[in-house]
């Protein structure tokens, strides 16, 4: 069932927290350039699934393939164990992640935040890292803020810096975990536009969100998740048309919209 062309492929991913099964054996393949949006109610397992992809959550069962290779875990006595730190770090360096609460490094300037990945992880020279960081800041439109500390920024600006920090690593895949959920409504637009611009450049991305704009305007494919399972999957047109026939999806959409 391996899909040779997939950038990332998940097979039977299962994650339990004590008695709760957060992700219940899901399968998913994302192709290069694809924009996947996962929606669903709180506690449906969508964030856990996203975090499993870059090993921030250790899965209990399943296989993760990156560019066709099985990665991240070794199996001992029938149980999965996270691979050596070096291996996991190398994988994470190829997958960018943006968090709901930004998690910028408060003790570094905006430029320092964006330089940090190339400098520390990729061990580029300071000049090279600065050049990359400035290009990324230009991309998210925050060149003028390069020398300030994150504490002085608005939520929308912080999230744009967080995006710049992630793409400075030139990742092959970007994960967005509810990137606009912590923002005041008037600041959602600037972050949405930044992600949209990134999508237009052909970046492969998986977005977990409650913001239907992503699903409608940006997604190639929408997945509705509930109780750790995929309940529905399709193009935005299919999803919004057919979703209305599904009781659960309709009530979810009605609550959101």
């Amino acid at each position: 069932m391996s899909d040779a062309k997939a950038l990332i492929e998940l097979e039977h991913i299962t994650k339990r927290f004590k008695s709760l099964t957060a992700v219940n054996g899901v399968n998913l393949a994302v192709h290069p350039g694809e924009k996947l949006v996962i929606i669903g109610p709180s506690g449906s397992g969508k964030s856990t699934l996203l975090r499993s992809i870059n090993f921030l959550e250790e899965i209990d069962d399943g296989v993760i393939r990156f560019e066709g290779n099985e990665v991240g875990y070794v199996r001992r006595h029938g149980k999965l164990h996270l691979d050596r730190q070096q291996v996991v770090c190398q994988l994470r360096a190829e997958i960018g992640m943006v968090f709901q609460h930004f998690h910028l490094f408060p003790h570094m300037t905006v430029l320092g935040n964006v330089m940090e990945g190339p400098l520390t992880v990729q061990r580029k020279s300071a000049d090279e890292a600065r050049e990359i960081a400035l290009a990324m800041l230009a991309k998210v439109g925050l060149t003028d803020k390069k020398d300030v500390y994150p504490a002085t920024l608005s939520g929308g600006q912080k999230q744009r810096v967080a995006i710049a920090r992630a793409i400075a690593m030139r990742p092959k895949l970007m994960l967005f975990d509810e990137p606009t959920s912590a923002l005041d409504p008037e600041l959602v637009g600037e972050v949405f536009d930044t992600i949209h611009a990134l999508a237009d450049e052909g970046m492969t991305m998986i977005i977990v969100t409650h913001h239907m704009g992503f699903a409608r305007e940006l997604a190639d494919r929408v997945i509705f998740m509930e109780g750790g399972n995929f309940l529905a999957e399709g193009t935005p047109q299919e999803f919004f048309a057919e979703g209305m026939n599904n009781e659960r999806i309709r009530s979810f959409l009605n609550r959101i919209l």
Binding site: N54, A93, L104, M169
Partner: protein
Amino acid sequence: MSLKPNTLGRVATALLFLWITVATALAAEADYDALFREANDLMGAGDLPAAVEVLKKVPAPKAGEEGDAFVRSRMQIAKLHFAAKEMDEALAATREVLALYPDNSEAKNFLASVEREQKPRYVSFLQDCLKFLPVLLKGAVMTLLLVVCTMLISPLGGLLVALGRISTFKPLSILCWFIIWLFRGTPLLLQLFFIYYGLPSLGITLKPITAAVIGLGLNYSAYLGEIIRGAIQSIDHGQTEAAKALGMTYGQTMRRVVIPQTYKRLMPPIGNEFIALIKDTALVSTIAMVELMRAADQMFNTYFNVTALVLAAVIYLIFTTFFTFLFERIEHRAGIYERR
């Protein structure tokens, strides 16, 4: 001869009485034993003039004779008068001794104390300062050296202990827990004694300064270890996740992201510990180190003069004040990124 015992005089007399009793018991001289005993009884009864009269019966030694009893009797008389603030009589008794024994150090020191009493207070205070300061400053330099050494060692030791404690590798975590338990759970004084006096029996002999630095370093590493661990664990877990998501290793995450954010939070409790450290260095005077406390103690015991202690207190206060301001400045700078 008029001895009018005031309250201070009575206290001083009681102390003298005790001292004389012990001294008499230890070095009884057969010849004048009875006289000293009679004088003691009179002092005990509070009749000082009578005691002085009895002591005066001890005659000056003839050529070739032992003079100890004579010296002792005259010095007792001098001290009794001194306690009653009768300086002329006190001086007279002291000079009797010096006339025969010009080099008697007890009489010489006593004469100096009496003369000091007779000078205006500020003059004698300034003279004392000039006399004590060189010795005290030498001690203060040693104290400062110990403080600075411990301040350099203990944050590093504390960081290692803290990282060990939060390590998922159980044996290391337990070892570090044990180190903290041991060094926080026993008195620093005992640790210093053990390192200096106890280790030689295991074949390890250390110089006092080495023992002092090791003792203070270990003790303060244990305390700082818990403070640093608390600060590391107080940093938002999201910071660690963001660092990991970038591809950082555990070491890079700690070094670049987590630990730098603890500096501001660490400064107030570490400042507290270091102020305590400045004063705790006084404990190393017990393991043959001459630092500020020991120097002050020596001056105090030689000259029986509180000025030495007051000066030492002032020097300690100067140290603590300086470091308090220094730590406040560092804290201020460490938190510069939090300002909006």
